[in-house]
């Protein structure tokens, strides 16, 4: 009975996935083993060449940069997002709606125009450098490195961490916090022993969302990272639109997918084991 209920609840979502994801994904996998053709995009001749091409230090290096940026962005979002989520979760004021709205505004505008704002702030002739120049320093290239990309992505993806985390923290009764305080816990103990374990689901969801979106980033690494911070999204974009080498692009996508799914499954399994030990449902 429960199995049937589960199926009923999951079936609309599964239907969308099967109809619009599984088949295109199958197409991507199939194209990844076809041969590239400059005028026909691909010809249906099976080959392992596309995957072979991927295993070169440059492309593997780009993969590593992608994972690195993904992890660092997730970490930054967790560190900055937790205090924000806590403040918002415990906020009773009617400004909460506005605060939430402001949080998602960077997502609403085109990344290109948003990054122009960062160019004004971090550019060589930007605000930060101008302030440094007043102190006798300045002229630093603050863009075109991993930190800049992480900053740009964190600004964009913070709500994906904060909102699920906030929902989790809201479910922790204040009485529990007060009880802990009354028993003499200091803020760090309160966080480590009470808040963190109980808000783990929010942290997990937030991390998964931030990481998944961060690794497929395109515009932010291109404009804020430059050539030194190329990510897999940039590679795929160029291959699809410029060289029309969809087979190679497809092989990159398959590698990315397999790798990320493996990471996610491991992450989810580990956290489920941890939360079960912590006594949670």
């Amino acid at each position: 009975m429960h199995g049937r209920l589960a199926f009923a609840l999951l079936s609309p979502g599964l239907a969308v996935l099967v109809a619009f994801l599984i088949v295109p994904l199958a197409m991507i996998v199939v194209i990844s083993v076809f041969t590239y053709s400059p005028t026909r995009i691909w010809v249906p001749l099976l080959t392992a060449e596309n995957y072979g091409k991927f295993f070169h230090p440059y492309y593997l290096g780009v993969t590593w940069t992608t994972v690195k940026v993904g992890l660092l962005t997730t970490l930054a979002c967790a560190v900055l997002g937790y205090p924000l989520a806590y403040v918002l979760a415990r906020m009773r004021s009617r400004w909460l709606g506005l605060c939430l709205f402001l949080l998602v505004t960077p997502l609403m505008v085109s990344s290109v125009i948003r990054i122009f704002g960062w160019l004004v702030i971090l550019g060589k002739k930007g605000i930060v450098n101008a302030a440094l120049a007043a102190a006798g320093l300045g002229g630093f290239d603050l863009l075109h490195n991993v930190t800049a990309v992480v900053i740009g992505l964190t600004e964009l993806l913070l709500p994906f961490m904060v909102l699920p985390l906030m929902a989790s923290i809201e479910n922790i009764p204040r009485a529990v916090e007060e009880a802990a305080r009354n028993l003499g816990a200091n803020p760090f103990q309160l966080f480590r022993r009470v808040l963190l374990p109980l808000s783990l689901p929010g942290l997990v969801s937030g991390s998964l969302l931030v990481y998944s979106v961060a690794i497929s980033a395109l515009v932010t690494p291109a404009l804020m990272g430059g050539r030194k911070v190329r990510m897999l999204g940039n590679l795929v974009y160029d291959e699809v639109l410029t060289s029309l080498n969809w087979p190679f692009a497809a092989s990159i996508a398959v590698v990315l997918l397999v790798f990320t799914v493996a990471v996610m499954v491991a992450y989810l399994r580990t956290l489920r084991a941890l939360s079960r030990r912590g006594g949670m449902a």
Partner: protein, 257 residues
Amino acid sequence: MKILVALAVLIYLFLLAPLLIVVAVSFDPTDGFRFPPPGFSLRWYVAFFTSETFMRAFFRVSLLVALTVSVLATVIGGLAAVGLVRVLTRGRTLMETLFLTPIVVPEILLGAALFLYYSRLKISTSVAGLVAGHLLLAIPYVVRTVSAGLVGVDRSLEEAAMSLGASRAQAFWKVTLPLIRSSLLSAAIFAFIVSFSDINIALFVAGPESVTLPVHVFSQIVWQADPTIAAASTLQILLIAALLAIAQHMFRLRVAL
């Protein structure tokens, strides 16, 4: 607590600084993208409002598609989240990962694959195809957000309701659902934004009748650059804010505790 609030304010400044610059630049009377702007002019706003292309893309395509996607994704994804968290235990990790897969596939390739798929099936590119593509992107966010909220809700509350005579569905509807209101609202907002700001799927899937605002903004960047896109971005923020304020009023969704 005060330290946390101060920290929160700083973080908000970090988030909004680039956008404040964009808003400022949208009033630059020249197309020099000067910051601080040398004057004040509404010419780019006028350019936006008088451009039938931009207005149509904003109101008749992007907004409509995003609203549809938001509603559909929240319902479909919400149901899936309930199934995942409350009913399924075997194969849960597999399902959770499956529901996250769409956002891991590079969007431009997903868009290309969807285009090929639609043309093989002889479906013409239209608003429906765009909605389907955006649903694919939005559902993962909804599932993750609602799951996070659901996991924290105490099941004993539902069980208490059932022991008082309510059916399982009634207990869920009357007890649990109100408690995950803020998760559902967040999920709906995410779905809306994901659809509204999508560019890569729309690039391939949009047809003449279904060109979204981001496609026009992106086209603008490819051939020229004038602050119309700064004005468009500011308007996007204002208009969506207005929509959300109305929605919050209509559904009297107080997110406070």
